[in-house]
Amino acid sequence: MECRMTKDDLLGALYLAQGIVDRRVTLPVLAHVLIQVGNRDATILATDQEIGLRRRCGAAVTKRGAATANARVLYEIIRSLSDGEIELRSDERHHLEVKQGKSQFRIVGIEPSEFPAMPAVPDVKSKAQLSVDAEVLRRMLELTLFAASSDEARPALCGVCFERRDGLLHVVASDGHRLSLVSRALKGVRPEPGVILPRKAVTEMMKVLDGLSGEVQLTFGSGVVFLTAGDVELAMRTVQADFPSYEAVIPRETAHLLTIANGPWSQALRRVAVLAAEQTHPVRLTFDAGKVELSARNPELGEAHEEVEANYSGETFTIGFNARYLLDVLSLFPGDSTVEVGLQDDESPTVFRVPEEPEFLYVLMPMRLS
């Protein structure tokens, strides 16, 4: 194969490939990208057999064909070249030649047919497809992924679940102590039972969506979900597990409601948490008329107390939380936003909402402090 491509096109594809290629040495071909050159464009593929990336780029084709190269090596080379056109050529010994001006590289490759086949997006007219604005989807993922577990022993919780409920698309994640949920009415048909995408897939999806605008498509195949966003196509294997039924843990009503400015509250939490026990970050919150008192104590470090103004008129009570679990969610919203906290008692789930993004909901279980 032989073609010319712009540095931008190539680099954009290789950047996405970086996150996907498998760095483990079990199957060397998985550390490579495959470059397929067609009649008038080129496609760059990368996969770790869980996620597959296909990125189409414009190319001035001299000769069709395919070549592979180590993804990291190629990325480092392309990145350090000057802007503008880059020539790519492969030889029969599977070397990839990269040329720009007086710079010339010959990279050892692998027989292209060894590159694993990638699932193709099923029929575009399939019923299991929905269209969504790239920015909206990215935000939905951002608002949920952080709450997913990283304990691989529980695969169902190690990702983000997509499912249809009450005519809405629910995107939800939980690690068993907290749950983050975004529900939106969307165009298209949604998956009925929950489909779970693993953390890595969601992370890569967010990378693809980053900076994009306009509609993208999610297609739900059997065991695979495809994201089609412009020139990029991502095939993601789903987690073979059932997401726990969670609607029962979302309190329909709570006894008390607190309204508080996100900025001052987050900052106070951050300060107080400095003196909370290091691993579990326990902080005590006391809700009182017009204010929240925050405190933390660590026998080895000392104690911290702080008061933050809040709109509260319920009964006075104290509850313990992992400060990280609070800050994780508060940091997703601007400082000038308002947070509504629905409280029951010190051992029931607490609900967090932000009026600016009414589709979002966060449920957090308290911590029992001695």
């Binding site: 068993g176 691993q279 992992n322």
Partner: protein
């Protein structure tokens, strides 16, 4: 010790004092009675050696030579340069319960000498032909006493050096039954040399020599420094790695030398424990020592340790066992606490200073130089200056026990409270997806990522538990955990204890529980797995009192599940976080199962391996 030994000879026959116990139904002929009694004290050549050497020590000897032929059956000779005996004493010494060391019943309550029962010589003489030659320094002529099968054959005058020489010929010749039960000569010789080593450890200011035929088996020259004796016995390198400590409580004092926790042996035979300079093999003392090592050693592995307890004579009863191997403590609990606590504290401080804490002057600290397969460095404490054979064994009073392995001028050594810094190590990389390769100042450090992380988690759990019930993170969705009925019942029964450990568990039918909360420290893990672990450990607990111990096992097991595995490749950030965490905890040296968490080679070791030095 000998300054406390009564100077009087073995004169008093204490038979009257014990008369009620001696009443006989049928009076045995004295030869039979003597042989029976002898059997209690004199089991084998090693016991003869023990009794005779103890007598020599009680007599203030500075040089003790033991000579054996035919593994002691031909000849056992013990030659000392102690104070010797007068003619009358020499004869009396062979009467049963003849002793110079105890006179009244009250004396028995405060025994400070090694021998006291007045049985040894009589017992030995009963089963052999025994010749005693002795001369006091002030006497012109000495005395020679010969007995055969307990009968006095000869008392005569003899010349010779000051001191006492006891020769035992034909041991058990007249007791074929006993002779039959002796083991192979090599085994019997092993016992003798072990026996002598035990005594030598407690008496560094006495020279010991053991010969078998023409071969010198042991030779421990006299030394003023206890560390020097350790070096003579265990070798210089091993001795240099010992961790020394000293502690005191109302019940008494304990001093000791411990092998660092990375070193272990498959049997407890290298544990030497002494009560008031008497070697004892006491369950309580050994248990306390091992409790001090606690989780630092794998099950079935033992340390090398030398422990000296000094208790007021009224605190102990040594008259429990004929061979005086056991003692009875008046306040056993306090003794146990003293030992286990001080051992634990010393081990906590054992970490070698890593990175910046270390400088050239620290070389004698060789805790990690004696790694398997690698020859330790030929370094050690400087040669001791031999002291003249003064009357008072000053090593007890003078030896700087606190820092024997450290040169006194070494100001560069980090004090035990200064934590070594793993965080300051330079991370070179990871090998075999399981071991972190790091560089400290003049040190090559290898960290087992799983063991290290396990220890980190374990210590976090343990220290949090020590401060109170573990904080519990509640679960959004109570998880149903199927268990066998016994485990489920046990979990519910111990609900309160489980809560202290950070769990909220409710019954769910007969053979399952619902878990509502888990320890916040382990909140990222599968609650079902945690509860299964907890249940398995609780089933083992027989009584609720045992829960404190169970807690430790629960934590160890959970830590193991939590920790990063070997086979998991770690990023630089993760490695850094792990090393930082290792700095925070108390015992970074081992994983809770007792495997080492890291190994350190000094630069000199590496250079030596490459024959650069």
């Amino acid at each position: 010790m000998n300054e406390q030994a009564p100077l009087a000879r073995k004169l008093e026959d204490r038979q009257e004092g014990l008369a009620p116990g001696e009443r006989r139904v049928v009076v045995l002929p004295p030869e039979v009675a003597d042989k029976i009694a002898a059997g209690e004290v004199v089991e084998r050549p090693a016991s003869v050696v023990k009794e005779l050497v103890e007598n020599a020590l009680d007599a203030g000897a500075k040089n003790i030579r033991v000579e054996l032929e035919e593994a002691g059956l031909g000849l056992i000779a013990v030659i000392d340069d102690g104070e010797g005996m007068s003619r009358e004493d020499a004869v009396c010494a062979f009467q049963r319960h003849a002793t110079s060391k105890v006179r009244t019943l009250a004396d028995l309550e405060r025994i400070t000498t090694l021998g006291f029962r007045g049985e040894a010589l009589a017992s030995i003489a009963a089963v052999s032909t025994t010749t005693l030659c002795t001369r006091r320094r002030e006497d012109l002529v000495g005395t020679r006493v010969v007995l055969e099968g307990g009968k006095l054959l000869e008392v005569s005058e003899i010349g010779g050096p000051p001191g006492t020489r006891v020769e035992v010929v034909g041991l058990f010749a007249n007791v074929p039954a006993r002779r039959k039960f002796l083991k192979a000569p090599a085994t019997e010789m092993g016992q003798v040399s072990e026996q002598l080593t035990r005594m030598a450890l407690a008496w560094p200011n006495v020279a010991f020599e053991l010969r078998h035929g023409r071969r010198v088996l042991l030779h421990f020259p006299q030394t003023a420094r206890f560390e020097e004796r350790l070096a003579q016995v265990f070798g210089r390198d091993r001795a240099a790695s010992f961790l020394d400590f000293e502690a005191e409580a109302s019940v008494g004092r304990v001093r000791g030398y411990l092998s660092p926790s990375h070193f272990s042996l498959p049997s407890p035979r290298q544990i030497f424990t002494y009560v008031n300079h008497r070697y004892v093999r006491d369950k309580l003392v050994t248990h306390a020592l091992l409790a001090g090592y606690s989780t630092l050693l794998m099950t079935g592995r033992y340390p090398l340790a030398v422990l000296f307890l000094e208790l007021a004579p009224t605190e102990i009863d040594v008259n429990v066992h004929p061979a005086k191997l056991e003692v009875r403590f008046r306040r056993g609990g306090a003794v146990h606490e003293l030992i286990s606590r001080s051992v634990q504290e010393r081990l906590r401080a054992q970490l070698p200073p890593l990175g910046s804490g270390l400088s050239e002057g620290d070389k004698p600290k060789l805790e990690f130089a004696s790694l398997p397969q690698i020859e330790p460095l030929p370094l050690g404490p400087p040669e001791s200056t031999q002291r003249e054979g003064g009357a008072v064994p000053q090593w007890v009073l003078e030896v700087p026990w606190r820092s024997p392995s450290q040169p006194p001028s070494s100001a560069t050594l980090a004090p035990p409270q200064a934590r070594p810094s793993f965080a300051q190590l330079r991370v070179v990389g990871q090998v075999f997806e399981g071991y972190l390769v790091c560089e400290g100042r003049d040190q090559f450090v290898l960290v087992d990522q799983h063991a290290a992380h396990e220890r980190v988690v374990f210590e976090r759990l343990r220290s949090s538990y020590a401060r109170g019930p573990l904080p519990r993170q509640q679960l959004l969705m109570g998880a149903v955990v199927p268990l066998d009925a016994r485990a489920a019942a046990r979990l519910v029964e111990y609900g309160e204890e489980a809560e202290r450990l950070g769990f909220e568990v409710e019954a769910f039918g007969m053979d399952a529980v619902i878990v509502r909360a888990v320890p916040a420290l382990l909140a990222h893990l599968d609650p079902a797995q945690l509860v299964r672990d907890l249940a398995e450990e609780l089933v083992e607990v027989e009584r609720p009192e045992g829960l404190a111990r169970a807690a430790e096992r629960v934590f160890a097991r959970m830590a193991c599940h939590t920790a990063v595995r070997v086979g998991q490749s770690l990023g630089v950030d993760e490695i850094r976080a792990l090393l930082r965490a290792m700095d925070e905890i108390d015992f970074a040296a081992h994983c809770p199962h007792g495997r080492p968490a890291f190994l350190v080679w000094p630069r000199t070791e590496i250079e030596r391996m490459f024959r650069r030095i």
